[in-house]
Subunit: 464 residues, 2 copies
């Protein structure tokens, strides 16, 4: 075949070692927190039957599914009418698609494994998803989702623990001081939104209200009101909502104001009671989460939420929400298993990456990288180095010997390019005396020490 | 939409928490060993342009590629001739495919990033691949590959280190005694095979020889000879190879016999010299690898190997090779970058899983699972439990409180089904005295101790 200049499909990315180190830092942090709270990992296949995926994400979502062509002579079972249009042909030549999110595959998983699962079932799932979206800055056709859901229980402990998990993840991600990420963990409840709609006399228009109020951050209060009028809300109803834009006081005080506002709405008061209970459970933990903010204007677009909703918003970086979730009913309704309530959270890995990069919050050292490089002068010292290399590795120290005794400069460049923090130089002097030249590349210092002492220093400084 | 009974595409699998724990045990073990030897992680997209994938795996491989349908009105740019056959239509409606292995995407990666990379470049890559193969026992349409390759150096240090990595991986995978996996790390060199073919007077038939001798394990010596005759090897040439089936002595002695056998073949002797050098480097390390076996009948089917070849074969379980690799030239020739030599190894995760399962070698405890479950009698003790839960988690102990104070039996069943090794029971007595009931579910023992003592015990027993 002819030589070709290779390229990547639009909207997809390669990750080299440096990016991988940073991505793992984020993913491992989230994974450890999920595990600490009792969430267990699952994985589902990249492909699902189109019957599982289609009709779950709206018409636009169906368009964005990547479809897989049937194998072999895919046209063999088609007739003249099938090939008359893409719409007719599609179901005849494609039965599978790539997953679009982790929620629908999870619902399918729960239904298929319902008799093996242990309810309440708390699972996390960290896998890529694919969307045939128009690629643009920060939007890719393949990206990781990072979800945790607890299903089969109504307990508000789950909501409280989601707040704690979010808090713990972002505290761990910015362990490196003095930079820091200022962020809000916003919480609301869909029942509060329903109550507001009821109180202002617009019952039945919950979704319109949610869609409009969701834009508050972007378009401001006046434009939201205009949109509500366009959506058929009477002008007088909108005056009633004004107090909601300026609820004063701490979370408890805001909830008290809200109770007065919603005093005639049963569902609204239920929503407030749920929010209060979440605060009570958090107090029970004795854990401080100063970032937690009740926000009655938080709506989240998705229609399937029925209780608590969450969103994390950076305050000192220009960036949309970096994490979000909420409680839903009927996760598995589509697959014939009704009444499965759950609550979930999802971290936006790509956005978190960009935020940490902008604030320079990634750790200096990549924990996955070689810790020490051995550099040898010639054939003889190179062979001598093998034993030192072995001794380092036996102690679990990530180490390399440059594969050939080429010019020192070339070997040092290799270590430098790879960001290896320590170098051991072995020449004939070192071989004779047993005292090796040990360089700390970050500090630019060096000493002559025997191998056991080097191992001791590396083991102490090790981040393993 | 109508309710539907969901299903999985043929040849794909869900992994629940128990399987995930075992799979992570394997993958993390391999990953840590790769890192210890200086291999750095990369990831490439699941989709590649078909121009990158096609023509690299032979005609059969091209058939087995999963192709992705172009988005939108995919037929819009086709004409009557295009839709006359699948073969004509395919290139018009599909431009992307799912990766078939990690080697071709790696070659593409190297070429596209050649100016940023640091040679010799040692990368590992652990990602799923997809093949539209007929599913059968142990063969899936989506499975993980787990590769490490060192490119841009001819140094036989890489070969020696691959032997050490294989050895370390399998020793770590069977840390649990007394069961053990008996296995051979077989090594040969393609140049030795070329030498043999030359010596028996069949130059030019290297590939035929490799394909036939590769079946020795399965069909035996006589059938291999028959196949060689079918492939046009003269009968007298086959008598000459007899000594090769019974080389005696240890690895060094076998290589000495081989040197005599190959004394008239320059390339054959080069192959022997390379094998000797690998042994010499391993001796230089001072590391013992008793499983290493020179095997001149090891051929490996793939045609692109040019130097060392490796294969790991279990001896006390019925199973094909569980790991393999070798040295190749011209990895990136297809993409216009010639003369890139490298050597790589790949672990067969699914087969290793089956082997460890059969020998009961997986660790008893799943390191990713909740370590302690708190069980409360009623509303009041449940609220009291939150502080204990927080204290456990602050110490990094994976812990859960059952989300509601339901019947004790139900809570205990949850812990049991989830294999949680410790349970703390909190009733009104415990609340008053501060001495909690602490159960070790594996030993069936229990004690009444205060929380700090429980934390101490859990931290000591912790495998974190």
């Amino acid at each position: 075949m002819s030589k070709q200049k290779p390229s990547l499909p639009k909207g997809t990315r390669d990750f080299g070692p440096a990016e991988m180190g940073k991505r793992h830092f984020i993913l491992e942090t989230i994974k450890k927190v999920y595990q600490k709270y009792g969430y267990a990992p699952i994985e589902t296949p990249s492909m699902e039957n189109l019957s599982v995926l289609q009709g779950k994400y709206g018409d636009e979502g169906d368009q964005l599914l990547f479809k897989i062509l049937n194998s072999g002579d895919f046209l063999s079972k088609t007739d003249q009418e099938d090939i008359s249009s893409s719409r007719n042909l599609l179901p005849k030549i494609s039965e599978k698609g790539l997953r679009y999110d982790l929620t629908v595959p999870f619902a399918r998983f729960v239904v298929m494994h319902q008799h093996e699962l242990n309810f309440p079932f708390k699972r996390y799932q960290i896998q890529p998803v694919w969307r045939a979206d128009r690629p643009q800055k920060g939007r890719y056709r393949e990206f990781y989702q990072c979800d945790a859901d607890a299903i089969g229980t109504d307990s508000l402990l789950c909501e409280a623990e989601i707040v704690l998990m979010i808090h713990e993840v972002f505290e761990k991600l910015q362990a490196k001081q003095p930079n820091s990420l200022d962020y809000a963990i916003k919480i609301n409840n869909r029942k509060v939104l329903s109550g507001i709609v009821e109180v202002i006399g617009a019952s039945g228009k919950e979704t319109d209200f949610a869609v409009a109020i969701d834009k508050l951050d972007k378009i401001g209060q006046e434009k939201v009101k205009e949109e509500l009028i366009d959506r058929g809300f009477p002008t007088e109803s909108l005056q009633k909502i004004d107090p909601l834009f300026s609820l004063s006081g701490d979370n408890r005080q805001q909830l008290n104001h809200l109770k007065t506002f919603l005093s005639t709405s049963e569902i609204g008061l239920k929503g407030v009671a749920e929010l209060e209970e979440v605060l009570t459970i958090l107090e029970g933990f004795g854990a401080e989460v100063p970032q937690l903010e009740i926000d009655v204007t938080l709506a989240r677009g998705l229609s399937y939420y029925t209780g608590a909703i969450f969103e994390v918003k950076p305050k000192n970086v220009e960036m949309g929400s970096i994490s979000g979730g909420g409680r839903y009913d009927g996760l598995t309704d589509n697959f014939g298993l009704p009444n499965v309530s759950g609550v979930g959270i999802s971290f936006g890995v790509d956005r978190i990456y960009d935020v940490l990069e902008e604030l320079n919050l990634f750790p200096e050292s990549n924990q996955e990288t070689t810790q020490v490089l051995i550099v040898a002068f010639d054939e003889e010292t190179w062979k001598y180095s093998l034993k030192a290399l072995n001794a380092l590795r036996v102690q679990g120290i990530k180490s390399e010997l440059y594969p050939e005794p080429v010019k020192l400069k070339k070997q040092m460049k290799y270590g430098n390019d790879k960001n290896i923090p320590y170098v051991i130089v072995i020449g004939s002097e070192e071989m004779k005396s047993g005292k090796l030249t040990f360089k700390n590349m970050q500090e630019g210092s060096q000493s002559n020490v025997e191998l056991p002492e080097i191992i001791k220093q590396l083991t102490n400084s090790s981040v393993n």
